[in-house]
């Protein structure tokens, strides 16, 4: 409704120095830059600095808990990530079915992800209590079996930590892979059906080629995020019995609580050779994707 049409400034030749737009662009980026510098970059540099004393590494390698923690972490990552992603891949096909009850189930299925993790982990912990927990009580009542100490034996403890971790994060990855499957054009499936493809062939030659890239991204991201999962182990077993179920995520905090910050950071820095290739690969993927736009 403006009555006067101003000469369009967009067509004016670019001025030297800061235009009004660029000035505001920089000003508007300052808050995020400040947060990123103060609470991401600085902690990382500070951490590298604290964790750079050789004596910290000597203490770390002399600690017998360190070796078992490395083993636990590798087992945790290999099992948790792969089992979770394969199940998520399968479930995403299940939730693709257009049936009302499956849609309702998918809404309910999300609750594990929607709920905060603390109450459910504590629920698991109490359920698994060897003397008073529901699991052993029912095992005895129904099968007259004396259940083991689910959280007081290393292998069971770690196994349950993996289950709790999968329980919490499965809906998220299923949702991502479901979105990936929804992006596959329907006519591909129709022509596969016309050609008489079996279920396996349809997956192998239609779904998988489209999902492969996304699946790999999910596995890598999930590896990093699972490496940072503190809650599933700490709140379930507390790293015990006798520090036998620690993973790197809880070991660092254990050293921090023992006032050995340098050892805590050393325990993180030793994991870098495993993480940095993933980071490098993910960054390459991200920037490649952007140049395609």
């Amino acid at each position: 409704m403006s009555s006067v049409v101003l000469p369009a400034p967009a067509q004016a030749p670019p001025r030297k120095g800061l235009s009004e737009e660029t000035f505001w662009g920089i000003v508007l980026l300052v808050p995020y830059f400040a947060v990123f510098a103060l609470f991401v970059v600085f902690p990382v540099l500070y951490g590298i600095w604290i964790g750079s004393s050789p004596s910290a590494y000597r203490k770390l390698f002399e600690d017998p808990v360190f070796l078992s923690t490395i083993v636990n972490t590798i087992v945790f990552l290999l099992v948790a990530v792969n089992v979770k992603m394969v199940i998520a891949l399968g479930l995403s096909a299940f939730f693709l079915h257009e049936k009302a009850w499956i849609r309702w189930l998918s809404v309910l299925f999300l609750i594990a992800w929607a709920m905060p993790s603390i109450p459910t982990i504590l629920s698991f912990r109490w359920m698994l209590n060897p003397e008073w927990g529901m699991l052993n009580a029912l095992l005895f009542k129904w099968f007259q079996i004396d259940g083991p100490g689910w959280l007081t034996e290393r292998h069971y403890g770690l196994g349950w930590a993996i289950i709790v971790h999968i329980w919490k994060s499965l809906p998220f990855w299923t949702l991502i892979l479901l979105a990936g499957r929804m992006g596959i054009p329907k006519d591909l499936y129709e022509s596969a059906a016309v050609d008489g493809a079996t279920r396996w062939q349809t997956f192998r030659y239609v779904s998988w080629p489209s999902l492969r890239g996304l699946y790999l991204t999910c596995v890598l991201l999930s590896t990093i995020w699972s490496l940072g999962d503190f809650n599933s182990v700490y709140l379930l077993t507390g790293g015990g019995p006798i520090d036998s179920t620690h993973v790197l995520a809880t070991l660092g905090i254990r050293y921090l609580r023992m006032d050995q910050v340098d050892v805590a950071l050393a325990s993180i820095i030793v994991a870098m050779p495993a993480i940095l290739p993933i980071v490098w690969y993910m960054m390459k993927r991200l920037s490649a994707e952007h140049t395609q736009d």
Binding site: S2, V5, L6, A8, P9, A10, T22, W24, G25, L28, L29, P31, Y32, V35, F36, F39, V40, P43, Y46, G47, I50, L91, F94, H97, L108, F109, L110, I111, A114, P116, I118, P119, L122, S123, F124, R125, W126, G133, I176, A179, M182, L214, T217, L221, W225, L227, G228, F230, L235, L248, A249, T250, G252, I253, V261, I268, I275, I278, V279, L286
Partner: protein, 277 residues
């Protein structure tokens, strides 16, 4: 019934249902059991009672004596994280997608690098950093930490939403003589409301649900968030589990309700990004 061909679907459905519901069901029945019976474990509570909830809401047990101030701390921190993330995210996003400042893509990518640091690994130097800033045992340390963790996702999702706003709107406003900040206020913000709802909810839940950072950075008992207070129950061998579960239910209800209320917004932002990659 034509169970025949569909039986594998039903089987998977039953497994998925049980898998999802068992820990939550267990949480609820223990919360509804009398203190002494939280140990007598059957599939159903024999004498269901709301006594535990009364104890928690009335702060009438020494384990829950700070319930209301801890709830207040959780609310304050979650709301502040949501607000600050929205402001920071919208400003950065406007600069990147509307002003199209040079290197906007790179800025987004570098921000996303934050998520390639495992959370528990960043927590330790972050804790030391808060000490260096003099923020230990101060709710603002947790607020800033969570803002740093929520902002990259906010910027990323907003970038995708903002590129769908036609540039002609900005051009038209410019021709009408609008300044950059007027475009921000009157063109950009109103169109971004749905995305801002999603991001605000995301940041709110992220902060409310956080355990590790809160556990490290807060110490004074009546200023803890509820998540840390719940974890602290475990310090006692004879923890009153029924009370713990009741507190857990109360703590879990608001975020779950909010999540389901805004589910559509939340899921679409997330999956839009997933399909692209």
């Amino acid at each position: 019934m034509k169970l025949g061909r569909d039986w594998p679907l039903y089987l998977i459905g039953i497994v998925v249902f049980l898998w999802t519901i068992i820990p939550i069901y267990h949480l609820l029945i223990i919360a509804l059991s009398p203190q002494q019976e939280a140990v007598a474990s059957g599939l159903f509570p024999r004498n269901p009672t709301t006594h535990n909830f009364e104890l928690v809401l009335g702060a009438k047990h020494n384990m829950v004596q700070f319930f209301w101030s801890q709830l207040g701390a959780s609310v304050f921190i979650a709301v502040m994280v949501a607000l600050i993330t929205l402001v920071i995210g919208a400003c950065a996003n406007f600069a990147i997608t509307r002003i199209r400042i040079k290197g906007g893509r790179t800025i987004t990518n570098i921000a996303l690098l934050t998520y390639l640091i495992p959370a528990a690994f960043l927590a330790i130097p972050m804790y030391k950093t808060m000490g260096a800033y003099g923020l230990v045992d101060n709710p603002w340390s947790l607020i800033f930490a969570m803002v740093a963790l929520a902002s990259p996702y906010a910027i990323w999702v907003m970038n995708q939403a903002a590129t769908k706003i036609p540039r002609e709107l900005d051009e038209a406003a410019k021709i009408d003589g609008a300044s950059t900040m007027q475009i921000f206020r009157y063109v950009y913000l109103p169109l971004m409301v749905p995305t801002m709802v999603a991001i605000g909810t995301y940041a709110l839940l992220l902060a409310w649900n956080e355990y590790l950072y809160a556990f490290l950075m807060l110490a004074t008992e009546n200023r803890l968030t509820l998540s840390v207070a719940l974890g602290n129950f475990l310090a006692f061998d004879d923890a009153p589990w029924a009370l713990l579960m009741a507190t857990g239910v109360i703590y879990a209800l608001p975020p779950t309700a909010i999540y389901y209320a805004f589910r559509r917004y939340m899921v679409s932002g997330l999956t839009a990004g997933a399909v692209k990659s």
